[in-house]
């Protein structure tokens, strides 16, 4: 119990009495009584009910002793004066009581308003939460505006993680069953562990557990607030749970549809060259070729066919690997020249019938990329250029910087782009001409796009002035780390 407000009431009484005692001849007795009532109201507003009651009792004593005749005696001779003293006490008590109630109402209303504002803020922040960790952070922030909490955590249903002392698995189960907030005294003075089940319409999303230093802060209002908060948090957790579920299902469906496309591509585009392969091998094995020269030609064709199938299978595997999301980029800062050179070297057989012009702007900044994948992308572009343009026509490979992007282009003098939508060229299993005698299944450009996009870049295709097509990839230019001269000790 706090002493100070009572002391203040007593002092007030004494001061008022001393102040108006000299003037008692001039002031009417009823006005004196009103002055005392005013003091009691003041006390009620300032310090609440109990100090007001004490002040009222003291005031009526002072009134009876000092002002009511006979003065300086508690004896009241006239009934009329007795009535006014009693009324004054009554009025003082009543007004004090009403005032203090009003005050606590106002305070409650303010607290409620504060709580609802905090809840509103919590709810609006939770709508943006993407993960359980986000929810935990936002909840922690919310609780911190109310009181000092620590060791805040959200226990998932059926968790196996160690529980904070003195919570036991059985105790936790009881709390969950009771569906209400529970507090347990923990080791340390006044320290409590509070557990709030996070319930939604369908089951439990977890239990919010935190430790409090001062158990007294958990008033009925705060408990109510915590339970409201728990339901808001539970709804947010439920939403995240379903969003995760939807995402996982989406991924599964996407990979399922990829598998289907691959299977259909395999069944058609692999069977056709395999049929030719088996047929040609049979012809040679059974000696059915008319001329010895034919046999030789057929064997060469078998080899080429097998290599074509190998490229197809490699592309399919590469695509499946890229799409499965299992590829981690092995990024490193390196000059573009090197990967360009390596791709040309890699494709030298396919490019044998085309003069290749390389135009690289001198002193290009290094880029951060996965060399193996980037080589794959460039090889696919070069292979396409070689496949789709007439023999002896020139293929140009160029690299230039355009703003904060580095652009690598492979241009040919082939038939140019089909009229179909340009962007679709980079789609899976898309081919310029649907049925053509040029081998391939339309994986090359899709792989290019996947690789380039994984590096934060973009791909583009355009017709070339003077005939032919240009395929470009743009990669972001970053801030390369400085390379200190690492000269070895001589």
């Amino acid at each position: 119990m706090r002493i100070k407000p009572y002391g203040l009431g007593i002092l007030g009484c004494i001061a008022l009495t001393l102040l108006i005692a000299p003037l008692r001849a001039a002031i009417d007795l009823s006005n004196v009584a009103l002055l005392y009532v005013l003091l009691v109201v003041g006390m009620a507003v300032r310090s609440g009910r109990s100090p007001a009651v004490v002040t009222a009792l003291l005031a009526s004593l002072a009134f009876a002793y000092v002002f009511v005749p006979p003065q300086f005696s508690l004896a009241i001779t006239q009934a009329q004066h007795l009535i006014s003293a009693a009324i004054m006490l009554g009025v003082a008590l009543l007004v004090g009581h009403l005032t203090s109630r009003l005050k606590s109402h106002v305070e409650n209303a303010e607290l409620r308003e504060q709580h609802s504002r905090a809840l509103y803020l919590l709810a609006s922040q939770l709508t943006a939460a993407q993960t359980r960790a986000d929810v935990l952070g936002i909840s922690g922030h919310f609780l911190a505006t109310l009181f000092r909490v620590d060791d805040l955590r959200i226990l998932a249903p059926g968790t196996s993680e160690p529980l904070p002392e003195p919570l036991t698995p059985a105790g936790l189960a009881d709390i969950v069953a009771s569906r209400t907030l529970a507090t347990l005294a923990a080791a340390g003075r006044g320290r409590t562990v509070t557990a709030v089940p996070l319930r939604v319409s369908k089951g439990l999303q977890g239990v919010l557990v935190f430790a409090l230093d001062d158990a007294d802060t958990l008033t009925a209002q705060v408990r109510e607030l915590l339970e409201t908060m728990a339901s808001v948090v539970a709804v947010a957790l439920e939403r995240i749970h379903y969003a995760d579920l939807a995402r996982a299902t989406g991924v599964r469906m996407a990979s399922e549809s990829l598998r289907n496309t691959i299977l259909s591509a395999l069944s058609h585009d692999l069977r056709t060259p395999l049929t030719a392969l088996v047929g040609m091998a049979d012809t040679v094995a059974e000696g059915r070729t008319a001329h010895p020269g034919d046999q030789q030609a057929m064997i060469v064709a078998i080899r080429d066919q097998a290599l074509t199938i190998n490229r197809l299978v490699s592309n399919l595997l590469e695509m499946a690997r890229l799409q499965s999301g299992e590829v981690t980029l092995n990024k490193a800062w390196q000059p573009v020249e090197e990967v360009v050179g390596a791709s040309l070297q890699q494709m030298r057989l396919q490019l044998a019938q085309h003069p290749v012009k390389v135009e690289i702007t001198p002193a290009l900044p290094p880029l951060e990329f996965d060399a193996v994948l980037m080589e794959r992308a460039l090889c696919n572009l070069l292979e396409n250029a070689a496949k789709y343009s007439p023999p002896e026509s020139e293929i140009t490979l160029s690299a230039t910087q355009a703003g904060n992007r580095l652009e690598i282009s492979v241009c040919d003098r082939g038939p140019g782009l089909p009229d179909a939508e340009r962007a679709e060229l980079f789609g899976l299993f898309r081919r310029g001409q649907r049925e053509s005698n040029i081998p391939g299944v339309g994986l090359g450009l899709a792989i290019v796009r996947n690789i380039v996009e994984a590096h934060g870049g973009s791909v583009d295709a355009a017709d070339r002035s003077g005939g032919g097509a240009c395929f470009s990839l743009r990669l972001p230019v970053g801030e390369p780390p400085r390379v200190a001269e690492l000269e070895a000790p001589a």
């Binding site: 020249e337 050179g341 390596a342 040309l344 070297q345 390389v358 780390p481 690492l486």
Partner: protein, 229 residues
């Protein structure tokens, strides 16, 4: 000459073993074949081959471990056949001591070219420390530490010279990033791939006619570099 050269082919797939063996025999090499590491051990003791063609995926053991053990007592070149397209697998085999690799599927001419390159290197290795290494228009004078192009001295920094020497003394062999860094910069630098790329770039500027289409220092993307005389 070819008749004296013995090659051991270790490969578990019968068809591949057969075609590799017959391709090598057609070149006049003496070929022994083994289908497992255990059998390979027996053949190694019996024949002491001059070159080993080794498939990494054998049924009775890890090919990389075999290379490591073998390198403990022999410097005979090893050409690895790898069905795995992941570059890290090749790097592991090369770092373990393999000299070169071929990814399946490979053609006969490619196989023979690689085998010839390894055997040529072997005969060069036996001539101790050649004072002059010649390639293209260039010669490296190891005694005076000078590189000349058509007799004219070329200015190379210390690092560039060491890098070129390291590559040129292993012609036809894939040197992994790690191996080059360790030999040129020292063991503490084996992870600093960026240095290597920068210096290879400098070196190409100085010795290649067209640095974007190098003839001598070839990139094995994701693995390392190969020097081609």
């Amino acid at each position: 000459m070819s008749e004296d050269i013995r090659i051991l082919v270790v490969e578990d797939d019968r068809n591949i073993r057969q075609f590799v063996a017959s391709a090598l025999e057609s070149e006049g090499y003496q070929v022994a074949a083994a289908g497992s590491l255990r059998q390979a051990g027996v053949e190694l003791g019996a024949r002491s081959p001059d070159l080993i063609v080794l498939d990494l995926g054998l049924p009775d053991g890890d090919g990389v471990q075999f290379i490591r053990d073998f390198r403990g007592w022999s410097a005979v070149p090893i050409l690895v056949l790898s069905a795995r397209s992941l570059e890290t697998e090749k790097v592991v085999a090369l770092d373990a001591g393999a000299d070169d690799y071929l990814s399946k599927p490979f053609g006969v001419s490619e196989l023979l070219a690689r085998v010839r390159a390894q055997l040529r290197r072997r005969t060069q290795d036996s001539e101790q420390d050649p004072p002059l290494i010649r390639f293209g228009d260039f010669e490296i004078d190891c005694v005076n530490r000078v590189v000349r192009r058509r007799g004219e001295a070329l200015h190379l920094t210390q690092i560039e010279y060491r890098l070129l020497l390291c590559l040129a003394t292993h012609p036809g062999r894939v040197m992994t990033h790690r191996q080059l860094l360790a030999q040129v910069w020292g063991a503490q630098a084996v992870e600093s791939h960026q240095y290597l790329r920068v210096y290879v770039g400098h070196l190409r500027q100085k010795i290649e006619t067209d640095p974007t289409q190098p003839r001598h220092i070839l990139t094995e993307t994701g693995v390392g570099y190969r020097f081609q005389p």
